[in-house]
């Protein structure tokens, strides 16, 4: 059991204000009820040293579905897998327009992407203490402890919503693009 508990005086003070809080604040009352009903969290020490179950290996189905969409709408796979060494820049550019138009439409349809930082590129920016290194990547000369003062080089991207379609039943996700046959 958890050994952590409140002292007598703290409990006495609570004895006076809690009933009023419960009576006049519905949200607080609900939280109290939930707290009392919740099973007591087992302390780490008490937990049996269970074999850690490995997370299921990603099958990549969703990734393949997104790839299939980008190929369908913007021919992305064709573009990336083609040998460009002999092509002129004008040829690559013309093909890039097709990829750009189609993939851009697909991205906006199936994902909502927003910059992580609202400042403009080049703006001064302060990186606070306790920043998340996954959200902010530092370069240059970060000496000492944060906060750091710097300049925004790239505002980053964050997927705030993913709206990939449900796969139709019985569809093989490994088929990124079907073969096309003119009959």
């Amino acid at each position: 059991m958890n050994d952590e508990r409140l002292g007598f005086w703290a409990r006495l003070a609570m004895f006076f204000w809690l009933p009023w809080k419960v009576l006049f604040d519905g949200v607080a009352a609900l939280r109290v009820r939930k707290a009392l009903q919740a099973p007591e969290a087992p302390t780490p020490a008490a937990a049996p040293a269970a074999e850690p179950t490995p997370p299921p290996r990603p099958t990549g189905e969703e990734a393949l579905r997104l790839l299939a969409i980008l190929q369908r709408d913007g021919r992305l796979v064709d573009f990336l897998l083609e040998d460009v060494s002999g092509a002129t820049d004008a040829q690559v550019g013309a093909a890039a327009r097709i990829v750009h138009e189609g993939c851009r439409k697909a991205l906006s349809q199936y994902l909502t992407l927003r910059p992580l930082r609202q400042e403009s590129e080049g703006d001064p920016i302060t990186v606070p203490e306790g920043f998340d290194p996954a959200e902010i990547r530092l370069s240059g000369n970060p000496i000492g402890k944060p906060p750091y003062r710097g300049r925004l080089v790239h505002p980053g991207w964050k997927a705030v919503e993913v709206r990939l379609p449900e796969p139709a039943s019985g569809v093989d996700a490994t088929i990124v693009a079907p073969a096309e046959v003119e009959v």
Binding site: D78, F79, E82, A94, A95, I98, A168, G170
Partner: protein, 596 residues
């Protein structure tokens, strides 16, 4: 009628269907999303439902076109139907609405896809339209299980140029789709004006008594003109639709095709071959380039790219450009030439044999069609409200113009139409018309229709219209028969122009009605003869003939019964003609457009 219940407006367009819902008069109607199959096996909500039906064979898995509310559907409607139809055109039904208004074919017969091989299942134009409507009803019910489609008032729009038969068939399609109960028809240009009124609380300040509004509706496949007059009645502004144009099968698709042909000619001049598949990609790319050039007036040209079909995208892509001079000469000068107000569209060449098919407009010049529309109306002015037309003018002078339809989103197109119209009016000493700004040319018709649903409940201003045509019945002349010469036929007016919804008229002269054996009734209509009264006899050569009614009326075989003809314009917006005997018997003459 219940207060506060939403009303629905449905725009059954030639290339897109849209649904809007109006909840309150002081709140602009909103577009309702329509879930549909958008890609193989993927259902998503879109603001428009492309008007296409695809009839699959073995090439698609059942799961590819399954709907959330019907996993076993054996056809598909909407965005994916259009996409799949580009791959296999023989199984695609398109332009069902144009077929619905085409008197040259039996519109209840399964003839679509037109010219498809025998193995492909076929639909009638009525059934294809019913499938779009059924999809909209089911899509609404899927998203709003607590507010069934059937329980709401529905306004369905039709082109102003639809005659009584096409309106009847539209209602028939709606009934087949299960949405007949609370249905009213509304003309599309009127719906566009309602949408403008609904989006402008101060609209009364922008119009004044004596204004004549030209609604210029240029959609993907068809063009529709209407004139609406602003009048005063009991001290309040009143709108009255005074004229509608003919059905013109000419729209934005013609323009995109014309541009694509121009670009293809240039590519072929450079030694490139373009197959059918690439040509469709070219049309798509040219449309994008066109929109880009229209949106950015300083851009000298926009790229056009046609992807290769195989996996070699970079090596197989053709690249060219659409330059501004080509765009302007092909599209603006080609379709909207600067012409005189007296010019008329080139008449179709009369040849002995013509391919059956849709009666596409022969003259691509919108400005000539507009000149014809305004000029023709000036020939019959006795029934026009006072102030709308003045002596000495060769055509009606609109004082305001409302643009609608996707084509009019392009500023150079709007400017050219205005420039031409202005030049005609100024040449006769008139004043340049003002533009009624605002509105969404793609979605205005459905929104205006939803708003009209509220208007019908007594909220907001109503456009008075009535019948946009006069209708006539053919009567054989009683004269000596001459071999080889068919008896001459007179056309007798049975329903005058401007007849109001819910009203009826009866022909004063009695006629003999043949009952008990097959009989054929000829009908005629005119959108220009506004001054004919009931019973007036007219030469049929001046009218447009409708399909005959061929039917057997119940009765003693071969008897001729004296009757009077009665015409009624129903609340729904369709025309009913009945023969009434003085003894009380009544025969309804219904359009049975069966012509083998």
């Amino acid at each position: 009628m219940e207060e506060g219940r939403p009303t629905l407006g449905l725009d059954l367009g030639t290339t897109n269907v849209a649904l809007a819902v109006a909840r309150r008069e002081d709140e602009p109607p909103a577009t309702a999303l329509l879930p549909q199959v958008v890609h193989e096996g993927e259902v998503a909500e879109r603001p428009q439902l492309p008007s296409f039906v695809y009839l699959p064979g073995e090439e698609l898995a059942a799961s590819a076109i399954a709907l959330p509310w019907d996993p076993a559907r054996d056809y598909v409607v909407g965005a994916f139907a259009r996409e799949q139809g580009a791959r296999i055109p023989a199984r695609l039904v398109s332009s069902a609405k144009s077929w619905l208004s085409h008197a040259g074919v039996d519109r209840r017969k399964a003839i679509l896809p037109w010219g498809a091989p025998e193995e492909v299942p076929k639909l009638s134009p009525v059934e294809a339209s019913a499938r779009y409507l059924r999809h909209v009803r089911e899509a609404w019910d899927h998203l709003h299980p607590d507010l069934p489609f059937d329980s709401l008032d529905l306004v369905l729009t039709v082109p102003a140029s639809f005659d009584a038969v096409a309106r009847d068939l539209t209602v028939e399609a709606a009934r087949a789709a299960g949405l007949g109960e609370r249905l009213t028809l509304l003309e599309e240009p009127q719906a566009a004006l309602y949408a403008w009124v609904a989006s402008r609380p101060d609209w009364r300040k922008q119009l004044s008594v004596g204004d004549l509004i030209l609604v210029c509706d240029i959609g993907g496949g068809t063009t529709d003109f209407s004139l609406i007059a602003v009048l005063e009645e009991d001290g309040a502004l009143e709108l009255r639709r005074v004229a509608v144009g003919d059905h013109i099968l000419l729209g934005g698709d013609n323009m995109d095709l014309a541009l694509a042909y121009a670009v293809r000619t240039r590519l072929e001049g450079q030694g490139q071959k373009i197959d059918d598949w690439q040509f469709r990609a070219l049309v798509h790319s040219v449309r994008q380039a066109k929109e880009q050039l229209f949106a950015e007036p300083t851009l000298p040209s926009a790229p056009v790219v046609i992807p290769g079909r195989g996996s070699r995208l970079i090596g197989g892509t053709l690249r060219t450009e659409l330059d501004r001079p080509t765009l302007e000469s092909t599209l603006v000068d080609g379709f909207f030439p600067r012409v005189q107000a007296s010019e008329r569209p080139a008449a179709p060449r009369r040849v002995g044999l013509t391919a059956l098919g849709l009666p596409y407009a022969h003259d691509p010049a919108f400005t000539r069609h507009l000149a014809a529309f305004l000029g023709r109306q000036a020939e019959a002015t006795a029934s026009l409200p006072p102030g709308v037309h003045r002596e000495g003018r060769s055509f009606l002078h609109p004082t305001a113009i409302l643009f609608n339809g996707g084509v009019t989103k392009a500023a150079p197109v709007r400017e050219r139409i205005l420039e031409v119209l202005e030049s005609w009016i100024v040449a006769e000493g008139g004043v340049a018309p003002k533009v009624l700004e605002g509105g969404d040319p793609d979605l205005a018709v459905s929104r205006g229709a939803a708003y009209y649903g509220l208007v019908r409940k007594g909220r907001g201003v109503r456009i008075r219209g009535g019948s946009a045509r006069s209708y006539y019945v053919g009567l054989e002349r009683a004269e000596l028969a001459v071999p080889g010469i068919p008896p001459r036929v007179d056309a007798v007016c049975v329903a005058p122009f401007g007849m109001e919804e819910g009203s009826e008229v009866t022909l004063p002269e009695p006629m003999g009605l043949l009952v008990g054996e097959p009989a054929s009734f000829r009908f005629f209509a005119s959108s220009a003869r506004r001054d004919d009264e009931v019973g007036e006899v007219v030469d049929p050569a001046e009218l447009e003939e409708l399909p005959p009614i061929e039917t057997v009326l119940q009765g003693e075989e071969g008897a001729v019964v004296p009757v009077r003809l009665r015409a009624r314009l129903t609340e729904v917006g369709t025309l009913e003609i009945a023969a009434v005997e003085s003894a009380g018997r009544e025969w309804r003459l219904e359009y049975q457009i069966e012509r083998g």
